[in-house]
Amino acid sequence: MMRLTGALLAVLLTAPMASADPVDDTLILNGETEMVTRTAAPDHVSDAMDEVLSGWHFRGTETRAMQEDDFDNPGMIFVEKAEDTWNAVEGSEDKSCASCHGASDQMAGVRPTYPKWNEEAGEVRTLEMQVNDCRKNRMGAEEWKYTGADMVNMTALLASVSRGLPMDVAIDGPAQSTWEQGKELYYTRFGQLELSCANCHEDNYGNMIRADHLSQGQINGFPVYRLKNTKLNAAHDRFKGCIRDTRAETFKPGSEEFIALELYVASRGNGLSVEGPAVRN
């Protein structure tokens, strides 16, 4: 009955064993900045878990190492591209991002607060929405596709200059109803497999689901460079993939639903360092 041949057994014995626990390790960026990759859960999720953990703890040794040094992090190539774009004049107003904001590192502190309520517009805005608002209304330039390369590279640049700062999105005041909507989505069991984000990322982080080591599904590392598709991946694309994997009809990147979900998921990681562009498999 047992069909194990000697050769096969050898393969199985040398294959990496599933490790249930997140790896106990410290992320020090470029040998200088110590990142907060695990910390006490913020109050609004403390009923569900004690500690929040970056997805970094759930990746293999080599993948973790790649993120530790900018020279080894393939995501930084795209950050450099975005740096050129940051300084390039475009659109009817003859302006670049730098014309209004100065050097890109002047934007340190911006990433951790998004998505956030915009009083004038009367809406919760993601970083992508804000970037497109600048392009359209201040530069007179074309808006970028929500998860297109230009946009995801630019959000990686904006994340990179905030690395090490704690995620800190506001969930009260005018943003509260959006946050509630996001929470509702997080716990909805979608699709034919009837799985919610919480089923995988709250109840089972640390466990293997087939070949994948489940993390808490935090977004403090986004956009992430994935070895699988060798490019930067936006959070909304990740949400889309995860919902698709429940055999469900997904929502679109940039949709009202994903904006709300992003605010909620970001809030679950309040206190974790911004890591974008993180490296994932």
């Binding site: 699709g191 034919q192 009837e194 293997m208 087939r210 055999r247 469900a248 009809e249």
Partner: protein, 157 residues
């Protein structure tokens, strides 16, 4: 019913045409989470059940469960309990109930219902991310469920 099946087997009349009356997903009768009646009246094939349990494109049960008997299948998950001994812990009706819709026995279970077609939120067309269309059906066919149940029944230790 049982008598006819036995007679059919005995007289070699074993063919699907004889047992056209499959129990459809919306008409499965549960008693305390168990399903007593076979969905097809045709005995399950444990060998086929074994491959369904281990196959990514079919049951993919190993995404969540480990099974020692399937040690040749790599990357077994650890979301649900090990299936070793499932055929000892549960009788055939209970196993059928668990595969058809585990939530009837384990309230709020993460385990998907493999023979169910209604009551989903935003059901999709397989893994395309698009909405379900008229090809939408249960994750396993009635006979596949019977095959899986037959296989699980062999896992007695």
């Amino acid at each position: 019913m049982r008598v006819t099946i036995i007679t059919a087997i005995a007289t070699g009349l074993f063919g699907s045409a004889v047992f056209a009356a499959e129990v459809v997903p919306t008409e499965v009768a549960f008693t305390d989470g168990a399903v007593e009646q076979s969905l097809t009246g045709v005995a399950g094939d444990p060998a086929n059940g074994r491959s369904i349990v281990g196959d990514k494109g079919q049951g993919n049960c190993v995404a969540c469960h480990q099974v020692s008997d399937l040690a040749d299948v790599p990357f077994q998950g650890e979301i649900g309990p090990m299936l070793d001994g499932a055929g000892y812990r549960w009788n055939e009706s209970e196993l059928r109930g668990i595969v058809v819709n585990a939530k009837m026995l384990f309230e709020g279970s993460m385990m998907p219902a493999f023979y169910k077609t209604e009551g989903f939120t935003r059901p999709g067309n397989a893994y395309t991310g698009n909405a379900a269309d008229d090809t939408f059906g249960p994750l396993l066919t009635a006979q596949e469920v019977e095959d899986v149940v037959a296989y699980l029944s062999t896992l007695t230790e």
